[in-house]
């Protein structure tokens, strides 16, 4: 089957396509004109005037805003947008996606440029849907930074930084002070003031596992919480265990490792010793293998 598929021939694209692309690219441009010598100084003056006016009145980097009542506006970099108990708004993130701002939410536009679209969520709830190269769309909360890896997600945060990320499509990388949680579709991750992102878990994980993670991550749950998390884990919860491996005390690492390989045999390509030493490349390779089960 695989061989038959690989035998599918590569088909040469017709030459005419590039000509059509060039025609499209050239459409907005104008052909150069000859200036009459007598107008040279006038043109230079006009150009300087236009540049001056542009500098004075140039448009600020901004996103479009549509409020629930249908009214339209703009939000510029540095501006805050706040919704009341009964209002909401939709922000258009350039041409890469939208952010729905739910009631009782306060956001600020931090950056709106080609290489970075960034929003600060001070409190409340947002839903983001983005189709852009990974890590282009970023949301800061008081205790985490969410980097879009191509996805759709909802995010809640209170003013202290306690919150919840829930991913519905693709992946999100939740990062804070050197701590990183990779959250795939169908999974969630809590954030907590002064701690940052907790351990991600699938939404269909048992309530006991979810509670144990909360205790372990944010309430000094220690050994009992870890034991509960290990015993409650299913094959799919190796997502959670993979993150825990590098977060537990060294003395507990072997237990997490043993539970993981009990649920999913260690791939031949992954070295047990290197995994226990938290070798970054080994952990990455193991995660990619485990992700088949997620």
């Amino acid at each position: 089957m695989s061989d038959e598929l690989k035998d599918l021939p590569l088909v040469k694209a017709p030459d005419a396509i590039w000509a059509r692309i060039e025609a499209e690219l050239d459409r907005p441009s104008q052909s150069p004109r000859r200036f009459l010598p007598g107008f040279a100084w006038a043109c230079a003056f006009a150009a300087m005037l236009i540049i001056g006016l542009y500098v004075l009145y140039r448009p600020k980097a901004e996103w479009d805003v549509v409020r629930a009542d249908g009214s339209k506006g703009k939000i510029a970099v540095g501006d805050w947008l706040e919704t009341g108990a009964a209002s909401k708004a939709v922000l258009t993130v350039g041409d890469i996606g939208t952010v729905e701002v739910h009631p009782n939410t306060r956001v600020r536009l931090e950056a709106a440029k080609p290489g970075e679209q960034r929003l600060k969520l001070a409190r409340g709830d947002i839903s983001a849907t983005v189709t852009a190269p990974p890590r282009l769309f970023i949301v800061d909360t008081p205790a985490s930074t969410a980097f879009d890896l191509g996805c759709a997600y909802t995010m809640h945060a209170d003013e202290d930084g306690n919150g919840l990320l829930r991913v519905t499509l693709g992946w999100v990388s939740l990062e804070w002070a050197g701590r990183e949680s990779l959250v795939p579709a169908g999974a969630s991750c809590r954030t907590h003031a002064k701690v940052g992102p907790g351990t991600p878990y699938f939404d269909d994980a048992s309530q006991a596992l979810q509670d144990a993670l909360k205790q372990f991550d944010f309430e000094n749950g220690g050994e009992p919480a870890l034991e509960m998390a290990l015993s409650e884990s299913r094959v799919r919860d190796t997502l959670t265990l993979w993150h825990l491996l590098s977060r537990v005390a060294p003395v507990d690492r072997q237990r997490v490792f043993q539970r993981m390989v009990q649920l999913v045999p260690l791939p031949q390509s992954v070295s047990a010793d290197k995994a226990l030493q938290l070798d970054p490349e080994t952990l990455k390779l193991w995660r990619e293998e485990l992700a088949w089960k997620w």
Partner: protein
């Protein structure tokens, strides 16, 4: 069929020149990827050359206009195939069902080998075209473009687990369809 991973490295300079608006660099980028983009669109749209040309034009125009947004931290091919996937999905949503057009080209070889290869490719293409979109795209990306599971997951906007299960089901469905075509 070579994947795009190895092409990413040699394209780094070209991408940088494209960011500066260098038309020659755009052309070089286009020449590097055009056949792969065109082929995947062609197989996706049941051999419809007109649809494949439109998709290829659309993808590269979007790529050229938005390349300033590409920061190089992620794989270029991931972004490119995401554009291809989105363009194919959008067009599929708009389009009415099309008839299957067998138009695969042959590679050099003897006449008998050529005929057999063409027959085989036509069968596979017909079976592929009959798969539902959500199974067809992962199959094309995996076997025609040789993308990794991670690249496919990013291009398709789903988890690697979903990619694996769709490939698995796609395989089974394709095998059944090939059997019925033989």
């Amino acid at each position: 069929m070579a994947g795009l991973g190895d092409l990413d490295e040699i394209s780094a300079d070209i991408i940088e020149s494209c960011r500066r608006g260098d038309r020659d660099a755009f052309r070089a980028l286009y020449e590097t990827y055009k056949d792969k983009v065109y082929s995947i669109a062609l197989y996706f749209f049941h051999g419809d050359a007109s649809a494949a040309s439109d998709i290829t034009q659309q993808v590269f125009l979007k790529l050229i206009r938005d390349i300033a947004q590409f920061r190089g931290e992620s794989g270029f091919s991931t972004w490119l195939y995401r554009l291809v996937v989105n363009a194919c999905m959008d067009a599929a949503r708009r389009a009415k069902p099309r008839e299957i057009v067998a138009d695969t080209r042959s590679e050099p070889g003897s006449q008998e080998e050529d005929f057999a290869r063409r027959q085989r490719a036509q069968s596979v293409q017909a079976a592929l075209s009959a798969l539902p979109v959500k199974f067809r795209l992962p199959m094309l990306l995996r076997y025609f473009e040789d993308l990794s599971y991670q690249e496919m997951a990013r291009a398709l906007g789903c988890s690697m687990g979903t990619v694996a299960s769709r490939l698995s089901r796609g395989h089974r469905m394709l095998a059944q369809k090939l059997e019925s075509l033989r």
